[in-house]
């Protein structure tokens, strides 16, 4: 079965090397850094193929997520799977961060 990530040979539009050039933003680099750090020799918390498995598990959402949001989702799920933090801890943290970011935005 062809997974959502398996684009090889499918019909697709022209490549636009001018429009689709993009200097990574600081936010994207931060997500990139988190992934590279959990992969690194010192931590070895995950491997590239595990990150791929998580991204492919997005199913049809794979196409909707921007690239680094897929990565972020993969990091989050991997850390849950490996019990680095729990779903309860993540939920509590997200509620706290949401309140903080919304206060920053409105303040």
């Amino acid at each position: 079965m062809r997974g959502p990530q398996d684009y090889g040979g499918l019909p697709a539009g022209p490549v636009d090397p001018v429009k689709h050039e993009h200097v990574p933003t600081h936010w994207e680099k931060t997500v990139d850094a988190l992934m590279m750090l959990i992969f690194d020799q010192r931590r070895q918390l995950a491997r590239v193929d595990e990150s791929r498995r998580m991204q492919e598990a997005l199913g049809e959402d794979y196409h909707k997520f921007p690239y680094y949001e897929r990565w972020l989702q993969a990091v989050s799920w991997l850390m849950l799977e490996k019990s680095v933090f729990t779903q309860e801890e993540l939920d509590a943290k997200q509620a706290e961060v949401r309140a903080r970011l919304e206060a920053e935005r409105d303040g």
Partner: protein, 219 residues
């Protein structure tokens, strides 16, 4: 929607030829998740803020100029070129680059063969050398078509190959990454390493274009 998005999308390049960056923040949900994951990892002692800062710094040192040094060494030192093609991981260690746990395979462009690199399944790329892959490399258009109609894709990059030239497309994966050793242009026999390095572009090491022609380089 914020005001600066209301205008029509105008020119995609500034006067000095650099693409205009769309430096948008991600969705609020993505910002919340990223901040939460990062703070939890710091609280758990898995990473520190300093680790993240250093990882970003290291990322910024990779790119075209590092790859160009390797290519020029291979152009100017036949013994090194032989090692680069036959035991790529060892050869790049001399430049302080460690591919582990991945493997590197360097493929050589010649009169007869043009090599081109893709990752149809994701965005696998020789990151320890070239850094973060370009946006087009990660997009469906390139991933889907590079393996079906590489010559058409090359034309979209402005690369026209002679009819008789064979195209080899290399599909990267999690464990094996490719780097193209482009052809050294004729007429550069007495050039210095610095001059030669200025010819080597990121895209020439992905194999979607040739190196700059002598006379095109800034240096």
């Amino acid at each position: 929607m914020s005001n600066h998005h209301d205008h029509d999308h105008g020119p995609t390049h500034t006067h000095d030829g650099k693409p205009i960056q769309e430096d948008e923040l991600p969705s609020i949900e993505a910002q919340i998740l990223e901040t939460s994951v990062r703070e939890l990892l710091i609280e758990k002692g898995v990473v520190s803020g300093e680790d993240i800062r250093r990882a970003i710094e290291a990322m910024d040192t990779r790119g075209e100029s590092l790859g160009a040094k390797i290519v020029v060494r291979a152009w100017t030192d036949p013994e090194y070129k032989d090692r680069l093609l036959n035991s790529s991981d060892d050869a790049i260690r001399e430049f302080g680059i460690n591919m582990s746990p991945m493997e590197l395979c360097v493929v050589e462009n010649t009169d007869e063969v043009h090599n081109m690199v893709v990752c149809t399944l994701c965005s696998c790329y020789p990151r320890p050398i070239l850094g973060i892959p370009p946006a087009w490399y990660k997009r469906r258009d390139y991933r889907a078509r590079a393996v079906r109609e590489p010559r058409a894709v090359l034309q979209e990059f402005g690369t026209e190959l002679p009819d008789g030239k064979q195209v080899r497309v290399h599909d990267s994966n999690a464990d094996l990454r490719y780097l193209v050793l482009p052809e050294r242009p004729a007429g550069t026999e007495d050039w210095t390493a610095d001059q030669l390095e200025a010819l080597v572009t990121r895209d020439s090491m992905i194999g979607v274009s040739d190196v700059r022609r002598p006379g095109e380089a800034d240096a």
